[in-house]
Each structure stands twice: as C-alpha cells, then as structure tokens.
C-alpha cells in the first residue's frame, strides 16, 4: 500500500536534479553542471552488502514488529469481535466496518481533518520557510538567538496553548480587541462552523513552527552557497531563487514535511478538543476526536467501534500518503 522507496538506482543527488531543472529553465550556469555529482549506476548489492543491510535494519524491524505490527494485527482481530473481557467476545465479522462506513459522522470528521490539514500544513511550511530563510541570512549570534526563539513555542504544551487561545478568542478576548481597533464587529470565532477550524489552526501552526523551521533550516544549510551565489550573480531575486533553486533542492525535506504534516494534522485531537470541544456542531471534530468521543462510553460496542474507526483512519492516511508519494515520483519522472 505504501509505495516503494525511491530506489538507489533512480536516486540522484538533488544537486543534479536542480541542474536538470535549471537546464529546462534555460538559465543554468556551466559551473553548476560541473559540480553536480554524476548519477550513479547501481545493481543489487553484494552478499556482504545485504548482510550489512539486514544487520543495520534488524533493530528497527524487530522493534516495529513487536510494538507496532503485533498490536496492529491484534487490533484488526479485535475489530471483528465485540466483547468486554468479562464475557466471551462475540464474533461480529466486518459489521463494525459497515457501521463506521455508514456513519455520516465519520466522513464529516475526515472532511474536518482535511480542512485542518490544508490550512496547517502548507501554512506552517510557508511560514517556516520564510523564517528559516531569514535565519540563514543572519550572522551567527543573531542566528543562534533565532534558532532558540523559534523553538520556544514547542515547549508550551497543547493544554496550555489551548487555555491561552480560548482566552484570545473569547468574546472580549485579544482577537476581538484587535478587530475592534480596525472597526470590525466582534467575531464569533469558536461558535461559527466556518471560522472554528482556522481559529484552531493558528495554535496548530504556532506549536509546530519550531520544529518545521529547524528542519527547513537544516535543509537550507545543506544547499551549497555556491548555487545561491551564482544565481545571485545571474540577478535572481529572493523569490526567483527560492522557486528555482531552493525549493527543488529542498524537495526531499519538503516531501517529508508534507507527508508527516498531513499525517499529524489528520490526527490532531487535543487542540480542537480543548479549544472548541469539537464544536460547533462537530465542525471541529477531527477524526481522532470523533473516535475519542465514541470511546467515552465504556461499552463493548464503543470499544470495537473506536478501534474499527481508527483502523479505517489508518487506511485513509496510508492511501493519502501513497498518493502523495506517487505524485511526487511521477513528477520526478517527467523531470529526469
């Protein structure tokens, strides 16, 4: 279900990709073409290499097998039984999959999750990119200061951020006070179905900004200065440089941030729970919050239902991510 990795054989150093990319734009410098490492031919590894591979993979595979796959198989099994450990469980087959898939609430929660992800992931990545680009231009002392500062929101827990943002969005809160300065009538941030998700997304972006920025920064620092310098010599401004050089070179990092961002955003649960309690009328009930709400009842039905719903969420997330991988790969094929 998850797509295959970009294999060694079709892997190239991003520098080469950037060069190809720029070639198509017709603005490549000869120098860049030369410095890019050559693409590498590779065949299936030798025996020694295979042994090394298995050895290095072993700890990860074993740990995942025990602590993820085993429980996961158990969970699939459990989703086909209804029971509470006091009476013999009743085999229900795939009934609960039907129950979840016929519940409008499940689809509504997926929509909410998607809406939230669509705001938080690109929004967060854009802001992080801007801040990271800014940090890169700073001298080392200012940069040190910023690298620490940008991470500070992350040490604030979601619980506390929720208390703060609830106060900010309150009727006489900070947000409405700012709006009153520009003569906008007070807004009902958490009571309006259209505004609640953007309102919850703000702390979402803010809490995730630190790590996203540091990751972007690590990616940016990986780009040799010479590329940027030669582009500068070509007279490319910040936006042009970012679009034609930085972003293509950051592609591996962006792919990572995008996929993990989507997965995390879909699973966001604490912020909408604590800030809006899933309301108004389920407008902020994300998939995990939907599952959590089902789970509040301590009945055998609720347990099987919530496990089934979260397994279906797993399938949704896996499929979405597989599509993202595929899209990026097909684009790459065009590129190469």
């Amino acid at each position: 279900m998850t797509p295959e990795p970009m294999k060694g054989s079709d892997m190239k150093a991003p520098a080469t990709e950037a060069a190809t990319h720029r070639e198509r734009q017709g603005s490549v410098t000869a120098k860049l073409g030369e410095t890019a490492p050559p693409a590498r031919e590779k065949r299936a590894g030798s025996r020694e290499e295979r042994r090394t591979a298995y050895l290095m993979l072993a700890p990860m595979m074993v740990l995942l097998a025990i602590f993820v796959i085993w429980p996961l198989i158990f969970a699939f099994r459990q989703s086909m039984y209804q029971g509470n450990f006091y009476k013999p469980p009743v085999f229900v087959g795939l009934d609960f999959y039907k129950y979840v898939l016929t519940d409008p609430g499940f689809y509504q929660s997926l929509k909410v999750g998607a809406y939230y992800a669509v705001i938080v992931v690109p929004g967060g990545m854009l802001i992080a990119l801007l801040i990271a680009s800014f940090i890169k231009t700073l001298g080392s002392r200012m940069a040190s200061f910023m690298k620490t500062t940008v991470y500070l929101p992350t040490v604030v827990s979601a619980v506390i951020a929720s208390v703060l943002f609830k106060i900010i969005y309150a009727d006489q809160g900070l947000a409405n006070w700012v709006l009153s300065l520009i003569n906008v009538a007070p807004k009902n941030f958490l009571g309006s179905p259209t505004m609640v998700i953007p309102a919850v997304a703000v702390p979402g972006i803010w809490l995730g900004l630190g790590i996203t920025t540091l990751i972007m920064l690590a990616g940016l620092l990986d780009i040799p200065d010479s590329y940027i310098e030669s582009a500068q010599l070509d007279g490319a401004g910040f936006l042009k440089r970012t679009w034609y050089i930085t972003l293509p070179l950051l592609r591996n990092v962006l792919l990572y941030l995008f996929v993990t961002g989507i997965v995390a955003a879909f699973q966001e649960f604490l912020l909408p729970l604590l800030i809006a309690n899933g309301g108004p009328v389920n407008a902020s009930t994300t998939p995990n919050l939907y599952i959590f709400n089902q789970f509040r009842a301590a009945t055998p039905y609720a347990m099987t239902f919530s496990i089934t719903a979260s397994l279906l969420l797993f399938i949704v997330l896996g499929t979405v991510s597989a599509l993202v991988f595929r899209l990026i790969r097909s684009e790459k094929a065009v590129d190469a």
Binding site: Y86, D171, Q172, P193, P280, V281, A297, T299
Partner: protein, 459 residues
C-alpha cells in the same frame, strides 16, 4: 477509628465461612487468626502477610484525592490483612486505562464508578454483587432514593458514596439587585429565566452561562429534557427514539434564545463544569453542577454570601419538579477480582463503615455534594451543626436533590445525539426541527446497531 477497625473484622468474618487465613495470601499452615465470631470490635485481625488490593480513583477536585489518600492510609494502618494500593487516574484517560487493563487482565479490584455505568456494567458482567460481602445493615443505611441507582435483580452492584445534581442555577445577588431584580424570588419559568438573563446582560457581563457544545450539553441537559417532556428522548423499552416530540423542540428553543440573543458567552472560556467565568464576575447567573458551590468556597469565598443557588426553572413554573439528574460515584468490586473479600472490606471501610469517614468527605467538599446514607447525615448534623443554617445547601438538598432522578442508563451515543441537536438548534446551523430529526435518526440507528431494543435495565 476503633469502630472502623471493628467493622472490617466484622465484614471479613461475615464475608465467608472460610477463616481469615485466606488473608495470608496462600501462605500454608493458616498462620492467620481465625475469625471466631462476628462480635463487632472483638476480633483482632492478624495476618502473616497482607493481600494487595488495587484501587483506582478517577481524578476530581484536589480535596477528593487528599481525602482518599488519607483514608486509604488509615485503612492500611488499621489492620494487616489487606494492603490497598491506591492510584489516581485522570478522567480523560480513564476509559482507555481501564479497558487496556481489562484486556490484559491487570484490572484493579476496586474502582470508582458513576451511577450511569452501573447497570451497563452489570449487563456486561463487570461487577461482583456486594451483598455477599457486606452486612445487610450497610445496605439498609442507603437512602431510598439512591438505592435504586445501584440495585439490579435485587442485588447491590456498587456502594454509593455521593450524589451531586448536575444542573443548579446560581445567581449573583449583587448584580441581580443592581438590575432591579429580587434574588429572593428567582426565575420560576423558562420565560422568567430569559427575562432575567436579558436584564442582567449589560456591557461585558453576560446574563447567564450554560453549556453550549454537544459534549457538555449531552449530559448537562438531561434534567431539562426530563423536565420538558417527562421522559428522555427514547421509549421506555428502548425500542425507538422520540426526540422529535415538540417538548424537546421547546427545550432547544430555550437554549437558542439564550444563545442567539447573546445573553450568554458566545465563545466561552471554559467548559460547563468550570465555574471560573462566574467567579470572575463575567456572568451574572451560572448553570452548573452542585460542585460549583465547592469551587466558589475554595477559590472565591467572598462571592459565597452574594450567591444564591436555586433549582433550574421549570418550563411552566411548576415547583417540586425534576430539573436535574443526580450524578455521583460509587465504589464497585471487579467481577474478576482475585481477592473479592479483601477488596470488599476496603469498600466497606471507606464508604459503608464509620459514617464519620464519609462525613469528613462532605466537609472537605464544602458540602457541595450530597450524602447517600442516613447515618452520614446524622454524623454531619452532629459534627458540623452550622451546615443546617446554610441556605444554599438546604435549597440544593431539599429542592433539587430530593426531586432529582438517576442519570439515563442508555449508551452515551444517544445523549451525544441530543447534545448535538441542541447545539445545532441554538447556533442555528440547522432548524430546530431538522436538528431533532437528525438526532432521532441517529438514536434509532444506535438502537439498531447496538441492539438496544428491550435491553433497558429494570431495577
């Protein structure tokens, strides 16, 4: 203490014909002193090694944890047969922790269970009946309006500790007087309430605060649903939803008026159960559980004399009607407990034994929760005569608790569907009728999927 100790001995002795050697946790040879008789206070409980009993308490207000800690320690010190290991579990992880433990077979012997979960739990075979372990006198002590909450098939499946009505109206008398309203004659009907809330809303102060999101509305409106319709939105035999009856629309209408006329906070800073906005003077009236009184006593004592607690108004102004369900907690004994006798001895000690122990609990609670045992009432009257003069306590106890009914026993999905309907109606995302129609469909679907028809528990 002395008496408490005697009671354990009594319980242990009465519990079974087997000698107390059982306390020795399998140690051969019966080093324990056999319980020779059931004479209270006469038996010394000597055991070579203590049996470990685990007890999980769902976390609530701080004083509760302090109280449990104190009396668990006292219980452990009072005898050497049973050692209770006590753990506090936060409410938001309770279900997960308990179910995980049940799945792994590491579940605790004793837990705090609310009334709403007793009968579903009995249906699932989750509890052991306490009748086999506690003396009959312990059950005779339970007040007659509470006993049905824990009784099924003629047996007691949990020992009730407290009741607390989940819907009480609190009025800030200073603000009421300033608005020309007389707190001595509080709102009687829903229209009065709207009128009061309108008059009390001025500037940054809202007239009232009440639940406004489905998850809170689901349970806090139970009493109001019952008041409006005389029943919950499901037939008595749980065969069909009845949410589309017009009396439920009336209730949604009340919430809608309060919300749409901006008589209540549009973006509340806290959930229903948290009294902070009222304590900060941001709202003139508050609908909250009786526990709010305890919070005010602890956090803002100067507000206490300026607060009156009254029953939530009834639809038509009738008095002596039900406007609140009685939430509350019991101690239950796990059906799979390996040491039911010892575990029951602890339940007996804490909840059913010396009335002074529970009396202390209510004292710590600032009398914002209500007793379940006649003997505890007597103990409070003796220990703390001043409580008699507390008008708010009297009102809650005589006008609300006395008419309170048990929380509904049906699955939470049904309550949540109703909460969602009320929220949709009040916030205008759907017409009142459409919202209730959706709720009714959802209730019927729950009935079908969970095969509820005919499973309503009878006491």
């Amino acid at each position: 203490m002395r008496r408490g100790k005697g009671l354990i001995a009594l319980t242990l002795a009465a519990a079974s014909a087997v000698s107390l050697a059982a306390c020795g946790s399998g140690s051969a040879g019966g080093t324990g002193t056999p319980a020779a008789s059931g004479t209270p206070g006469a038996v010394e409980t000597g055991c070579s090694s203590a049996t470990t009993v685990t007890f999980w308490q769902q976390k609530f207000e701080d004083y509760q944890q302090a109280w449990y800690k104190k009396y668990v320690a006292q219980f452990n010190a009072s005898q050497n047969c049973v050692n209770v290991v006590y753990q506090v579990v936060p409410g938001d992880t309770w279900t997960q922790k308990l179910q995980a433990a049940q799945a792994a077979g590491t579940q605790p012997d004793v837990v705090t269970t609310n009334y709403g979960n007793i009968k579903p739990g009995v249906a699932q075979g989750q509890f052991s009946a306490l009748d086999d372990y506690l003396p009959a006198s312990a059950f005779a002590d339970i007040k007659s309006n509470v006993a049905p909450f824990v009784t099924q098939n003629g047996k007691h499946w949990g020992y009730p500790m407290l009741v607390e009505p989940s819907t009480v109206l609190y009025i800030n008398t200073d603000l009421a007087k300033a608005a020309g309203l007389d707190p001595a004659s509080p709102p009687k009907t829903w229209n009065d309430l709207i009128d009061w809330a309108t008059k009390l809303t001025s500037g940054n102060v809202k007239g009232i605060t009440i639940a406004s999101v489905a998850a809170d509305l689901g349970w806090s409106s139970w009493g109001l649903q019952y008041n409006s319709c005389g029943h919950f939105p499901i037939t008595d035999d749980w065969s069909a939803g009845r949410a589309t009856e017009s009396c439920f629309a009336d209730l949604v209408g009340l919430y809608k008026t309060l919300y749409q006329n901006k008589l209540m906070p549009q973006n509340p800073k806290t959930g229903y159960a948290d009294a902070t906005p009222y304590m900060n003077g941001e709202v003139a009236m508050m609908v909250d559980g009786s526990w709010a009184l305890g919070a005010i006593k602890q956090t803002k004592p100067d507000l206490l004399p300026k607060t009156v607690a009254v029953p939530f108004p009834t639809k038509d102004g009738g008095t002596g009607e039900t406007t609140a369900t009685l939430g509350g907690w019991t101690l239950t004994l796990d059906a799979k407990s390996k040491h039911p006798k010892e575990a029951a001895a602890f339940i007996s000690y804490l909840a059913a034994g010396d009335p002074n122990i529970m009396a202390d609990f209510f004292k710590q609670a600032g009398y914002s929760k209500y007793t379940t045992r006649t003997s505890v009432d007597q103990a409070i009257a003796t220990n703390d005569p001043s409580t008699k003069q507390d008008a708010n306590m009297k009102t809650i106890s005589e006008d609300i608790v006395a008419h309170g009914i048990a929380e509904p026993q049906y699955p939470w999905d049904i309550s949540l569907a109703m909460g969602t309907a009320i929220e949709a109606g009040m916030k205008g995302t759907a017409s009142v009728d459409a919202a209730l129609k959706t709720a009714n469909d959802s209730i019927n679907s729950t009935i079908q999927k969970q095969q509820l028809k005919g499973t309503a528990p009878q006491s």
